[in-house]
């Protein structure tokens, strides 16, 4: 417990971050009004402040710098590489961040630690949920790598009910596609995704659930490719069985 009047010997624990949450709250209230204890804590903090130098020095991987700077650039809307067909005022950066957040939520490094602990404790009944989380983590990793090192395109797909699409091409990894607000298909129908390159049509993916999706495409994309969508009854054919309902160009 904190001394009822002053922090006393707890000033060091405070500076080291070693008080319990209740003690910390009580100490903060006291420090707001006690200059003497603030000075004591400050003296301790000055020593604690050099403790980071006491550990063996290590260097982070070079990719971390790229990740951080890419994230910072992503915060600046004018630095995001955008290709859009339709409304020029489309908030592409905001969409990408929002879409990525849907996937990334809960799977950052610290969360991954928790997830691993949680998974150990899950019962067999929850295993399917865990598998879904793993897929989300992999997808989130693809997003992070793409944002840091690769290329991406994002589209408002204007004129198609506000449907959104982002294509992520990490280096040396599968192409990922984020789709948002696609309406539910009629019963028995599904969306099919095609990549058109040099006049040839390649099957890329299929989905039928409404809402937000992240999926891998069957082949890498590159600048100049056209991503096209059809709505069909089956995913079995290797060529489109219905007219393209919309298409977007990766320019």
């Amino acid at each position: 417990m904190i001394d009822c009047n002053h922090l006393g010997e707890s000033s060091a624990a405070y500076a080291l971050g070693a008080l319990t949450p209740d003690e910390k709250r009580a100490a903060d209230r006291h420090l707001a009004e006690c200059a003497a204890c603030r000075r004591e804590v400050e003296e301790c903090r000055q020593i604690v402040g050099v403790l980071p130098l006491a550990v063996p020095q290590a260097t982070p991987h070079a990719r971390l710098k790229r990740r951080i700077l890419a994230s910072a650039r992503g915060d600046r809307s004018d630095a995001v590489r955008i290709s859009s067909r339709g409304r020029s005022a489309w908030p592409a950066a905001g969409w990408l961040v929002a879409a990525a957040a849907l996937v990334i939520a809960g799977v950052s490094g610290s969360n991954a630690l928790r997830e691993r602990a949680d998974m150990r404790a899950q019962t067999a009944a929850l295993q399917s949920r865990i598998a879904a989380q793993r897929r989300a983590a992999n997808d989130a990793h693809a997003v992070m790598v793409a944002v840091a090192d690769g290329a991406y395109w994002t589209f408002p797909t204007a004129g198609h009910g506000g449907m959104h699409c982002s294509i992520l091409q990490p280096p040396n990894a599968e192409t990922a596609m984020l789709l948002g607000t696609f309406p539910e298909t009629p019963h028995g129908m599904m969306y099919r995704v095609w990549i058109i390159r040099d006049g040839r049509v390649h099957r890329a993916a299929a989905f039928h659930e409404p809402g937000v999706h992240m999926m891998h495409l069957m082949m890498p994309v590159k600048r100049g490719d056209v991503i096209a969508f059809t709505m069909e009854r089956s995913d079995s054919s290797s060529s489109p069985g219905a007219p393209f309902m919309m298409s977007i160009t990766l320019d």
């Binding site: 707890s10 060091a12 500076a15 971050g17 070693a18 400050e42 050099v50 990740r67």
Partner: protein, 197 residues
Amino acid sequence: MGKFGTSGRAGRSDEQLVAALAQHEVEALETLYERYKSVAFSLAYRILGERSAAEDALQEAFLSLWRRAGSYQPGRGKVRSWLMAIVHHRSVDALRRSATPTSELAFEELPEYESDSPAVLEQVWTGDRAAIVRTALEQLPADQKKSIELAYFSGYTHVEIARLMGVPLGTVKGRLRIGLQKLKAMLDVRLAEASPS
């Protein structure tokens, strides 16, 4: 000027760089990252023991700096102190596997510095003198050193440390406080000896 100095290759102080961050200058973030990446990463890695988790903590810290630079007020604490506090906070938080992520540590949450850091102590950041800090910590009495390490690097509360070490809470409080005092005394002497007269 040494590796954590305010001049050097980049030529701008931490405070000037944070002012540039507030203007969304990514190059300023890069300069700050280069300046503190090793010490910040080393701290996170010491706490978490896992490179990827340490890198996540570092990323969160630098992006906090980037996003909250506009709220920085010179005189309310050093940028370096804030950055290290964020790295420590995030790392310990990850270590404790808290159920709910904590919020970012704002500049406003830093204690107001009522005086500048002692000039002697400041020298550890302006030269290659980290070894002096390591040596001083190593030379503390074992119980004091262990208590400080459990608190700062392992994220234990003093109540938990008392339980771990099988001693009364008051004993742990005393070890932490006396340990920090001795550390300061040793650093004062050794840094003064190492300073050019």
